[in-house]
């Protein structure tokens, strides 16, 4: 009788002790490529940390982050979720044709902040009437490709927010790229929250139209077909699709200064070896970037943006002699000072939900 009861206990003990020993023996990982985040390192035991609770918090995170087969556990949990018919995992919808979409419901869209930001942009535009100013808000992927969302999945309605733009900012100063993107096969990546370079190019053409520029045709070349982006990092399904990143290879610049780091290319090719291959564009996000394009046409652009602009930027190079790029999340200097340097054009480019959620837009109007 007794012996027969033992196998379940042995199974449980083997799993717990095995995982425990395995996790301890395994060398710690600093970064999780799959999740695209830094993992907790061995916590420091000091009296200070112990009594503030920092030590125990870090120890719990450490134990969970450095567990044996972490990626396997995460993939297994997601696989079971999907098997049981869940339409979303960790806030990401599992859409049709392998598309993932960040979930953002009607309640979650912060209209007050959205309107406040729009007013800040308008105020900024109004103080620079001598400069050609444009606001371009890329639609959130889930609102544009709504037919690929799981049936009935709650997503905020972009239409009323879009209609607000001409009224608040001014019809001529808004670049509406919705229809142009809608006409494309793949305006957004499947596994990443950004638009594809094809999408960015279509948006560029609309911007050209809006600013009375002739569109210059750029040929796009594929540089990787193994891209799994930020949405994949949340879903972590082992059989997630892989995306292709294309870019206009022929674009050259004279020099680029990213927060003091100098380079002569818009692309950081080394990033293609890393997990987040989208950072091939500009090598990621910087607070303040100055680009000398080498074109001599006297036009200078101030680009205020989120990461959606990173793959949009190459198309602009031929149109300007100099481009100043600001990411207000990190930039704390004076925008006005930069405007004094002879800026002829301003473009504010964000993804719509990013723009609504951003609490830094006010910095535009600070001295």
């Amino acid at each position: 009788m007794k012996r027969r009861e033992l196998p379940p206990l042995i199974a449980i003990a083997l799993i717990l002790l095995g995982l425990s020993a395995g996790s301890l023996a395994l060398p710690d990982r600093a970064f999780s490529d799959n999740e695209n985040r830094y993992l907790q390192q061995s916590p420091q035991l000091t009296a200070d940390h112990l009594f503030s609770g920092k030590f125990t918090q870090e120890a719990e995170k450490y134990e969970s982050d450095q567990i044996l087969l972490r990626d396997f556990w995460m993939g297994a949990a997601s696989t079971l979720q999907r098997l049981l018919g869940k339409g979303d995992i960790n806030g990401v919808y599992l859409g049709a044709d392998g598309y993932y979409f960040a979930r953002l419901t009607e309640d979650e869209f912060d209209d007050a902040s959205y309107e406040k930001n729009l007013r800040a942009v308008t105020a900024f535009f109004d103080t620079h009437t001598d400069v050609s100013c444009r606001l371009l808000l890329s639609p959130s992927p889930g609102t544009l490709l709504w037919d690929k969302l799981p049936v009935g999945a709650p997503m905020y309605d972009a239409a009323p927010r879009r209609e607000l733009l001409p009224a608040l900012v001014g019809r001529d100063r808004v670049v509406d790229v919705t229809d142009a993107l809608m006409a494309l096969d793949e305006p957004y990546y499947r596994t990443d929250h950004h638009w594809t370079t094809v999408g960015a190019q279509a948006a560029y053409e609309v911007w050209c139209d809006s600013t009375n520029r002739a569109v210059r045709n750029q040929e796009l070349t594929a540089v990787t077909d193994t891209f799994r982006g930020t949405l994949y990092s949340k879903v972590l399904l082992p059989d997630s699709p892989q995306d292709t990143i294309t870019l206009p290879k022929g674009v050259t610049i004279h020099s680029m200064d990213c927060d003091g780091k100098l380079t002569d290319s818009l692309y950081d090719w080394s990033r293609l070896q890393e997990k987040d291959q989208y950072t091939v564009f500009m090598g990621g996000n910087w607070a303040h970037t100055e680009i000398d394009t080498g074109a001599e046409n006297g036009r200078r652009l101030l680009l205020v943006k989120d990461s959606f602009a990173n793959c949009f930027l190459p198309f602009l190079v031929g149109d300007f002699e100099h481009i100043t790029v600001l990411d207000l999340r990190y930039f704390n200097g004076s925008v006005e000072e930069l405007m004094d340097g002879g800026v002829t054009d301003v473009l504010v480019l964000y993804e719509m939900s990013n723009f609504a959620a951003d609490h830094n837009i006010f910095k535009l109007n600070q001295g």
Partner: protein, 466 residues
């Protein structure tokens, strides 16, 4: 520390279990005491002192009561008991209810008294009730006072039931404290029970909790969505709480203790009266033995019984958290229980069982909404959403479809069906096969729980208000 964490499962538990079994029997209570202090101090390094004070305080009170009882000085014994009860309730009151009282006094008298802003020591409601049960039972001569402070401290701090119950009365583990016989059979069953509890918490409760949280955050849920949310919380609280009790009882077995059952498939009940005999049994028992019966119970006429019920359920509600919604929740049950005692039970007994089930389900689902939404304004809004407005909102069907499988699993899982099916199969299988199947079953649940612990970040602790 909580059971549903990798630190507990992969570091604390294996280490403590190995040291415990390596240690000779004489030292095992000391091992448990040290382990329990570590377990508690992990999240509450400062509040460990309150627990230790509580332990020493009632250790002395127990000795004092026993001493005076022995001498036949009953009044003195009673005085010590009163010191004990007042002391325990003061500690509980100070940490748990001061800010609530200050808040209410402020709004009643328009004053601006400052709140203490104390964090509630986790588990304080459980261990103060446990130590009170001890001194009261010593006074009632139901147990002998514990002379060994180490053994007594091991009882008070015993980590399996420390932070989320069950409320283990001293008399139920008095023997175990001294003469328990750990054996592999019990350890194996205990760990299987633990894994089942872990699965209930990590797999079912957390999924249902995430659903409830997303719905309760909605500004204008449709009627159906609001009911779905209420149902999700109903499942969450059951699987979370009974899962914790399973884990506690299972761990108790691992260390040779037998704790009484805390849940007996309460959602199968056919009346609210029955529901409360099957839900959080250890709390109901505590209030019956130490409040309801001393107040006279049902022996002093109907009116007095109703008053007693009202008192007990007011306190039961308040015990669950220092907020008016918990009081409302308690009084809601007092009303239902009085109604059942006077008329409804007789009616229900004559009706088909399904009617009783349906009525009871309705009662506890509505009850859980009272329990879940602590802000009274929000509470009103939520009830309004359940009974008025649009039937379905834009997301209703999606939420239903996306969670349908989990909901079915939860609905089946909260009944006795899986256990009875398992029993029937096990009897038909040859011995070896049944054990093998058991091993496969617990392995699967444990592995899945690990996957969800690591992969799913949503893992709340619900008892921080208790």
């Amino acid at each position: 520390m909580v059971f549903s964490s990798t630190v507990f499962l992969l570091l604390f538990l294996p280490l403590v279990a190995v040291i415990y079994y390596v240690c000779p029997r004489r030292g095992r209570n000391a091992v448990l005491l040290i382990a329990s202090l570590l377990f508690y101090g992990w999240g509450e390094p400062k509040y460990i002192l309150i627990m230790l004070f509580s332990t020493v305080f009632d250790y002395c009170n127990g000795l004092g009561i026993g001493y005076f009882r022995h001498l036949g000085r009953n009044k003195a014994a009673k005085a010590v008991l009163i010191v004990s009860v007042v002391g325990n309730l003061s500690i509980l009151g100070f940490f748990k209810y001061t800010d609530f009282a200050v808040d209410n006094i402020n709004s009643l008298l328009s004053l601006g008294l400052p709140a203490l802003g104390l964090a509630l020591p986790i588990g304080i409601s459980f261990y103060t009730f446990q130590t009170m049960s001890y001194t009261i039972d010593v006074y009632r001569c139901q147990v002998a006072p514990q002379r060994n402070i180490l053994d007594f401290a091991a009882y008070v701090t015993l980590f399996p039931q420390l932070i989320a119950g069950p409320i283990v009365q001293y008399k139920t583990v008095e023997k175990d404290l001294h003469t328990r016989q750990e054996n592999w059979l019990e350890a194996s069953r205990g760990m299987q029970r633990f894994v089942v509890g872990l699965g209930k918490k990590v797999l079912l409760a957390n999924q249902m909790g995430a659903l409830w949280e997303s719905i309760s955050a909605m500004e204008h849920p449709g009627v159906l969505t609001a009911w779905l949310g209420a149902l999700a919380f109903t499942f969450q609280i059951y699987f979370d709480f009974s899962g914790y009790s399973d884990m506690a009882i299972g761990l108790g077995h691992l260390f040779g203790f037998t704790f009484l059952e805390n849940f007996r498939y309460p959602y199968e009940s056919r009346s609210v009266t029955e529901f409360w005999r099957r839900w959080h049994i250890s709390l109901g028992t505590w209030f019956r033995e130490y409040v309801y019966i001393p107040l006279g119970g049902n022996r002093r006429g109907l009116w007095r019984q109703m008053l007693n019920l009202l008192i007990v359920w007011f306190l039961t509600g308040l015990w669950h958290g220092a907020s008016w919604n918990f009081v409302l929740w308690g009084l809601y049950y007092a009303a239902l229980l009085i109604l059942e005692k006077t008329v409804l039970l007789k009616v229900l007994n004559r009706l088909p069982a399904a009617v009783g089930h349906l009525y009871t389900c309705l009662c506890f689902v509505l009850g859980w909404v009272l329990f879940a939404v602590t802000d009274l304004g929000r509470l009103g809004q939520y009830f309004a959403a359940m009974f008025s407005g649009v039937l379905i909102d834009g997301g209703t069907w999606y939420l239903l479809r996306s969670n349908a499988a989990w909901l079915v699993l939860a609905a089946v899982g909260c009944t006795a069906l899986p256990a009875s099916l398992w029993k029937r199969w096990e009897e038909r299988l040859p011995n070896g096969a049944a054990t093998a199947l058991r091993a496969v079953g617990v392995t699967a649940v444990l592995l899945l729980s690990m996957a969800f612990l690591v992969g799913d970040s949503y893992n709340p602790f619900l008892y921080f208000r208790f």
